[in-house]
Amino acid sequence: MNRFFAKGFVILLIIFAFFTVASRAADSFLVAQVTVEQPSAKKIEHIVTTEGTVEKNLEIPITAEAGLLVGTVYVKEGEQVEEGSVLAQLDLEWLKEETSLLEDEIKTLRMQNEAIAHNEELAGEERQKQLARAKEDYEAAAAKSSEATERAASELSQAKEAIDRFEAGEEKNAMSASEQEEKRTQLWQDYFAKQQAYEDALSGGEESIREAQRALEDAGEEAQEDASREINELAIAQKEKQLLAYEELTQAGGMITAGQAGTVTGVFVETGQLTAETAAFTISSREGGVRLGAVIAETDAAYVERGDTVSVEKNGKTYENFSVTGISSREDGSLLLTVSAGEYTDALQIGDTVTLRVTKQSELYRTAIPLGAIHTEQNETYVYVAEERDTALGTQLFARKVKVNVLEKNDTWAALEEGALSEDDWVITDTDSYVQAGERVRLRES
């Protein structure tokens, strides 16, 4: 043994042993530590939260009959009114004229209806008669045609019998050949004639029956429905209602009163003007519940719709079943959200700032993963999947890049299209250092 090299060999072995351990330690130090999660079936929840202020209580519109002249207006905006207090008074004479005008209209409409009803009856009887007559003709035709066919049928059969008899009978051998021949042709000719007559009778009969049937149908049709009667009735009903309102007003002395207590928030009529269909007055009353206004960014607009449920929170307490009543866009592109609540809550005063939260759930997606797992690179979205692979150092985890496309996402979850990932893939959601495709990864020491 050459001692120098033998010793060298041993030293080399020791050095290698040392670096085996050192490199293992170094390597595990460099490898990215990741947390992984399996895709799960989930509904994507979009939660839009925004700050809102309690603007004013719910406004109740007070409407008066349209087209009436306003006498005097008693109240101004911001005034506190009680229930039933007078807001304005209509010009009584104008009111009376209007009511009488209305009555005349109703009368004329009624008369028109009666006239229509009358001549409808006449038309009805007329039609009945024609119908009966058509029916008779039909029956007669049917009967007649069946007689004719029967007669023709019997004659035909007689002719047939005559031939048979002639053939079988002795008469035939009494005659000479030529007489026989002649008799036979004569009998056959007669038979054919009868057959022809029978067919004529048949078709003739059908012909007449068909005509009679058509006549019956024509008679049976209803008279053309003239809709004018219904229209008039509707108009009458509508006018009667208006008349009723007029009478009520006249009894109330043409007063327009406040439906409930509250502050007048809007006066839309002036003296000497005609009342319009729209609200004459708006009164915000406490009982009507609360209205909130809030501004949301355009991006969230997609997730908020009229009628979504909203939860309102004010210093810790949350109030449920508010709902979005209106969305109107504003100049700067953001949207004004009007939210109103069903039952009354005294906690919310006008001017309070509250946080509104609209939660909206999408349909059930089969593969949804945390948003952190999605990476995008020039319009290509992909995720990394931790995959076991058999390597020199035993089975280790490697990152594999999988292309996916995102159907819908919110700030925590993203729903993926089917097919790219399966339930048992381990998607890398976050990592302590940069992960690349094909690179080794390690599960975070949680």
Binding site: R3, E388, K401, K403, G419, S422, E423, A437
Partner: protein
């Protein structure tokens, strides 16, 4: 001997001994560590102990039955089902659901009694079936209950809701779910979460309990389990008194709030069994079937959902029935809305982990293959698919090494069950009888979904098919009408390019060689497989002409594949470059619908057209994902199932890597392409070339005519390109030398002949 020497010798011996011990110990340990060939078990190691497992079998529904409205165990132990299929019927089964006998009843009477929209039904232990019918016509919906007594008589009672005093929030008649408890009382729940018990004689309901957050309810024994979005409320089913909340059940709901969802046509993600043993509640969700004894701190998992249809998250449950501690019946609605009846029976011998293992071997990994495996695994929970990738990349194993290892396995008799033959010596495998005949399977798919007949004929060898592709694509020529005509052969194309001073769209030498190789190689070998030298020489010369006309700079990699182990195919046809004028003609492969849309849009805009590069007569296509079944497999049935999934419509209709040979999948893709941009007239994308020209390309839906034209071209291709890796490597090596001018076409051709014929002679 001197002492020094002795000491030295002893030291030497010690050293040798030490090294030996280490090594022996080392590899001794290795010896015992039995690492079988299959990879370690999958992550979701089944925890339910060693032996014994509930096996899932699907029972056939009674003849004609489409919808199962109620399923229950009667007092006499029989299973009963109340279902609709052309008519209502109560079916009884003595043998635990295997066979069903219909209880006769006067169908007409039943039809009238159960007329209207039934929202729920249940069967009482004594066999009376009750169904809740709601008619929506009037403004306030009115509910009625149809009752079918055990003796076959049936009557219908209006549900009389108790008065609530004020008119505004009277109970809504919109009844949602109903169930009998073990004592035979019928319980009903309406949309606002109010629970009533119904007196069957009179039909009037007494209010039991109610909470607006109740989504639906189940019955266990005489307990109502009302499921809300943040827990389960318990009520006594006789008097409605609320019982103490059960933490375990509520935690389960809090853990996964989707359990509270009522899915489409009233299936639910959670179902309770009415039968109880020592107040234990049995319930099923997507994780499996659990038994939870009330007051106990944990739910014991009886069945692991991952191993059978329970785990399939697209399925929702209707009724769970516990026949006895070893048999359960479960009626479900699957993703396609079909009602199915499953039976779980305990088998002590069945091992906990699925025992049938299907080994699928492929040289290279591919996203298409992974999709097929996960789709197959989902529908075949009892089969464990072991996907072995020959060249798992990264550690430099060459194709030859991988094939050598595979051949050793095959010859040793334990080869894989399914072989993905891309890049493998498929012909020699067929010659040596390694691959089984799958023509019956292909015929089956042809009958059900239809198959591209030209592709099938290409792979049919005297009546048998040994290998079959899942996808295929063709090489096209895109340009003016004469260019397309010139695409008929390499010579014509070369001469066209030469005189017309036209040039091919830019690509590097390897891509050019590969595209033309795939298009023309089918006709290089004559019948007995001899290479034809002058065809190859001519081919090389023409390619040189085309390449020089293009004078593109080689260093730029035109078609670099994206990173990651899994690389999807990229079409080499670039109609966009024709549009932007980088080249007058484009010659290359088109591999998916998106590229077809781009091609159609570009052609519309610049008036070009396209045609099949038929290289004088031999119209060849390129197969992708060729697969075959090993003749020595013991899992023929599972292997054929896997191929059905691989060639099936579901996998085929994912766009990419070529066009599906499965006709139904291809048609689905066509429809998608025809409606991809919805009804608006398409989207405009701006396209810019490297020298700055930016153009607007307007992508529109494919029209019927365009799709038909393309399908016709696909159907013309009748011979597969030569996919032999060895021949390709030789051609690539020599081709590059010719294109870069180092070697003349003759030398290269003779070199190819030499090596090629050597290879073919072996």
């Amino acid at each position: 001997m001197s002492r020094g020497k002795k000491r030295k010798r002893i030291a030497g011996l010690l050293l040798a001994a030490a090294v030996a011990v280490v090594s022996l110990g080392g590899c001794g340990a290795n010896g015992e560590k039995e690492t079988d060939a299959g990879s370690a078990g999958t992550e979701s190691e089944v925890s339910s102990g060693g032996m014994g497992r509930y096996l899932e079998t699907e029972l056939s529904l009674p003849e004609g039955v489409e919808t199962i409205y109620a399923l229950a165990k009667l007092a006499d132990g029989q299973a009963a089902m109340f279902a609709y299929g052309g008519g209502w019927g109560l079916y009884r089964s003595e043998d635990g659901g295997e066979s069903w006998a219909k209880q006769e009843a006067d169908d007409a009477k039943l039809a009238s009694v159960f007329e209207g929209y039934m929202t729920g039904a249940s069967i009482s232990p004594d066999g009376t079936a009750a169904g809740i019918l709601v008619d929506y016509e009037g403004e306030t919906p009115v509910a009625a209950v149809g009752i079918l007594n055990p003796d076959g008589t049936a009557e219908r009672k209006e549900l009389i809701l108790p008065e609530t005093g004020d008119e505004t929030d009277a109970y809504t008649g919109l009844m949602q779910k109903c169930a009998f408890d073990t004592a035979g009382n019928l319980l009903v729940q309406n949309l606002n979460g109010d629970l009533f018990s119904v007196d069957l004689e009179t039909g009037n309901c007494t209010f039991l309990a109610g909470d607006s957050s109740i989504q639906y309810f189940g019955v266990a024994g005489e307990q109502i389990l009302a499921v809300t979005s943040d827990g389960i409320l318990l009520f006594d089913s006789t008097d409605g008194s609320s019982l103490s909340e059960d933490a375990v059940l509520s935690d389960m709901i809090q853990a996964d709030s989707s359990l509270a969802d009522v899915l489409s046509d009233f299936g639910t993600v959670l179902a309770f069994a009415r039968e109880t043993e020592e107040n234990a509640v049995f319930y099923v969700n997507h994780d499996g079937l659990f038994c939870h004894t009330q007051g106990g701190s944990v739910s014991e998992q009886l069945i692991n959902g991952a191993l059978n249809t329970m785990g399939d998250s697209t399925v929702s449950f209707l009724n769970l029935v516990m026949l006895d501690s070893e048999h359960f019946l479960l009626s479900i609605i699957d993703a396609s809305g079909q009602n199915r009846l499953l039976k779980y029976s305990y088998d002590a011998q069945a091992s906990a982990v699925p025992e049938t293992e299907l080994r699928v071997y492929a040289l290279e990994d591919s996203s298409y293959l992974r999709q097929a495996v996960s789709a197959y695994q989902k529908n075949h929970q009892d089969v464990y698919v072991n996907l072995e990738i020959g060249m798992s990349g990264g550690d430099g194993v060459t194709a030859e090494d991988a094939i050598q290892a595979l051949n050793t396995d095959i010859l040793a008799g334990d080869g894989p069950d399914v072989l993905i033959l891309d890049g493998m010596p498929a012909d020699s495998y067929i010659e040596k009888g390694v691959l089984a005949d799958i023509s019956s399977l292909v015929q089956e798919i042809a009958d059900s979904d239809g198959v591209f007949e030209n592709v099938r004929k290409a792979y049919e060898k005297d009546g048998a098919i040994y290998q079959f592709p899942a996808k295929f694509y063709v090489t096209l020529v895109n340009g003016t009408a004469e260019a397309v005509a010139a695409g008929a052969s390499v010579e014509k194309l070369a001469s066209y390019i030469n005189e017309g001073q036209a040039s091919l769209t830019p690509q590097n030498d390897e891509t050019l060689l590969k595209t033309f190789f795939l298009a023309d190689s089918a006709q290089w070998t004559d019948e007995e497989g001899k290479l034809n030298e002058n065809i190859i020489r001519n081919w090389l010369e023409q390619l040189k002409v085309i390449y020089d006309a293009g004078n593109w700079d080689d260093t730029q990699q035109y078609y670099s594949y994206s990173g990651g182990a899994v690389t999807d195919l990229l079409g080499t046809l670039s109609p966009v470059s024709v549009l932007t004028g980088e080249g007058e003609v484009s010659y290359g492969s088109l591999v998916d619908m998106t590229e077809l849309l781009t091609l159609a849009a570009a052609d519309k805009q610049n008036g070009m057209t396209y045609g099949l590069a038929d290289s004088d007569g031999a119209k060849s296509f390129v197969p992708y994902m060729l697969a075959g079944i090993s003749s020595s497999t013991k899992q023929t049935e599972a292997a054929e199932d896997f191929l059905r999934t691989l060639f099936g419509k579901e996998c085929g209709s994912v766009d990419g890597n070529g066009f599906p040979v499965n006709r139904a999948a291809y048609d689905a893709l066509c429809e998608d392409a025809q409606s991809r941009y919805g009804d608006d007239e398409g989207i405009g994308i701006s396209v810019s070339t490297d020298d700055g020209i930016s153009l607007e390309l307007n992508l529109e839906n494919l029209t019927e005519a365009e799709t038909a034209e393309f399908t016709a071209i696909l159907e013309q291709a009748d011979a597969p390109a030569c996919m032999d890796r060895v021949v390709w490597e030789i051609v690539l090596e020599q081709g590059k030398a010719v294109l870069s001018g180092d070697v003349t076409a003759e030398q290269a051709a003779s070199e190819i002949m030499q090596k090629g014929s050597l290879y073919l002679a072996e």
